[in-house]
Assembly symmetry: C2
Homo-oligomer: 316 residues x 2
DNA sequence: CCCGACTCATAAGCCCACCTTATGTCCTCA
DNA sequence: TGAGGACATAAGGTGGGCTTATGAGTCGGG
């Protein structure tokens, strides 16, 4: 009420950086987005309200304030029910992606929480824990809703220790060699790929890059010591030449997308950027940039119960 | 409208609702996630607080309550600053994806808001508006922070009308033929792909599917009338055999991922599912499942100014 | 023809989550 | 050893969002 959003922002003085003036003031909260999805699915404010556990007037008001916030009518109300407007359908689709990301967050966080006494204890490398595990956990939850999962993240050594000591029922590691004392199965392949902004010269090449070209070109990279960097250095024989070194995958992606140069990243980190063409993949040949992702367990003790379910989920 | 969602939607019970007891009670709100990202980046609660426009005690309390909610310590506080714990690093990465989705939501919503008088008015097909445009707008905002964009979404006919009448400065359409009176350039290719759960028999095939096999197999599909369905029917000569018909792309993905059968979807909708191997692509040959995505403008009036900037962004 | 069941909207009041200001404690560095 | 930064704690205000209670429009059937 007191905050009428006029044409442009009310004085947000903020720091120098260009973007971000408080996302949370312009984007409805997760509860509201969930409610919107429920309305889309159920065709009625009242039923949607019941589904998310609030009363009908609360839902009505919440949708209305969301419409005010966005400046767009989202639903057509009628005495027979509510349907999304065209704009509403679009907004709902965007909302769905936020909610899906939140679900992945939740799945991961929930596993992280119950360090102890969970029915299924998983140890995983950072990359796997970060990018793959939340999705697996969502799938597992769909099959076995009552399975509590706990997660320990660390490097291969840590994972091996936990699995061997029985602190974890199942482990996931990346890398070529399997720690001794463990049986394993390959569940996927992680591949480092070279990407550039669509406008970069390399994006118009016909030929694939060869090892020499890749090693000779200045690249946007994660800092030395990161897993990604290690794989790349190993593949090139320690020759990778950094144009910039950044400390987060996101920073590398943003930098490459803005045209600063070619970057090398795990394909796991690049789902949307590639399909939306914010970045394009540059073929490379003659360089071994892929490594296996493996599930591991103590020799002879094939996973059973929930661990076996999870393993099944992850395998092709 | 080539859209749907809703008409006889009421009957679709979706997947048997899994758990969901209110995501928003288990996931911190967007403001808290933004704050966490700021802490990760700046290494200090106080500086992070300043960046997001709150006071240091507010930030302290907010992070603390987030840790209580998640049951995990996220940051190591010290008199010299704050660093993420291991768990915190993981949570921050998951949080980043939520925030990124929210940024895309915001970019889209902002364009949707200013129907009138914006400096750059874009008309786009539903698919493009849904999946590609938010990303482009984020990129555009990075280059030209002060460009206000408005968006009209509709089918090819609507887009053509708006562009020809001057109500839109630039249009984006999908499909083979370009409406007359418009010049165009291909900016990307949308491809329908066949996907299954990793455990499905097709996922172990060696050979690519041929048209006959695809036409003969019962598929999980969007309902008749949807854009996706039209392209598929055209490619197969109207022969697509539905195993289930669902009214949203998400429902189709979920159903396929749970192993119900093979599905056919636009690759734009499948970024993360593929890289996380929740779904795997089944190669197909002998069927034309791709269509061009084109930018369009009135014959002879090449885009200038912000429209040209946007166009440049979208092209390889 | 009107009653019951459904839809959504409005009004009034409560409550808690979150913010702010004002302090205190600990550490580091010059 | 004192200045300055970083975080924690305490007390107080405010508003957003919830609830209950009610009203109004539409549909369909006895």
């Amino acid at each position: 009420m007191s905050r009428d959003d006029g044409t442009s922002d009310q004085g947000v003085r903020e720091t120098a950086s260009i973007p971000v003036g408080g996302l949370s003031h312009r984007v409805p909260d997760l509860g509201a987005l969930e409610l919107l999805l429920a309305v889309a699915r159920l065709g009625s404010l009242g039923r949607a309200a019941r589904e998310v556990g609030i009363t009908q007037p609360a839902a009505s008001s919440r949708i209305r304030s969301m419409e005010r916030q966005l400046g767009v009518a989202l639903v057509d109300r009628s005495p027979t029910g509510s349907r999304l407007t065209d704009a509403g359908a679009l907004v709902t689709d965007w909302a769905r992606r936020v909610v899906e990301a939140a679900e992945a967050f939740d799945a991961g966080a929930q596993a992280l929480r119950d360090r102890r006494d969970s029915r299924l204890r998983v140890a995983a490398s950072m990359t796997i824990a970060e990018y793959l595990l939340p999705g697996w956990l969502l799938a597992l939850r769909a099959q076995r809703p009552d399975t509590a999962v706990s997660l320990i993240a660390g490097n291969s050594t840590v994972v091996a220790e936990r699995v061997l000591s029985g602190e974890a029922d199942l482990g996931f590691v990346e890398g070529v060699s399997v720690p001794s004392g463990l049986d394993s199965v390959v569940i996927a392949h992680d591949r480092l790929i070279v990407v550039t902004a669509p406008g970069h010269a390399w994006a118009r090449r016909r030929r694939a890059l060869d090892a020499g070209e890749l090693a000779g070109a200045p690249l946007i990279l994660r800092e030395e010591g990161s897993g990604t960097r290690q794989v790349l250095d190993a593949a090139l024989g320690g020759l990778a030449r950094p144009l910039i070194e950044l400390s987060s995958t996101t920073a590398v992606k943003a930098s490459a997308a803005s045209g600063a140069g070619p970057a090398v990243l795990s394909e796991l980190a690049l789902g949307e950027e590639l399909s939306a063409r914010r970045l394009v993949e540059i073929p490379v040949e003659g360089v071994r940039l892929s490594r296996d992702l493996r599930a591991v367990w103590p020799v002879g003790h094939r996973p059973t119960g929930p661990a076996r379910d999870l393993l099944t989920l992850t395998r092709s």
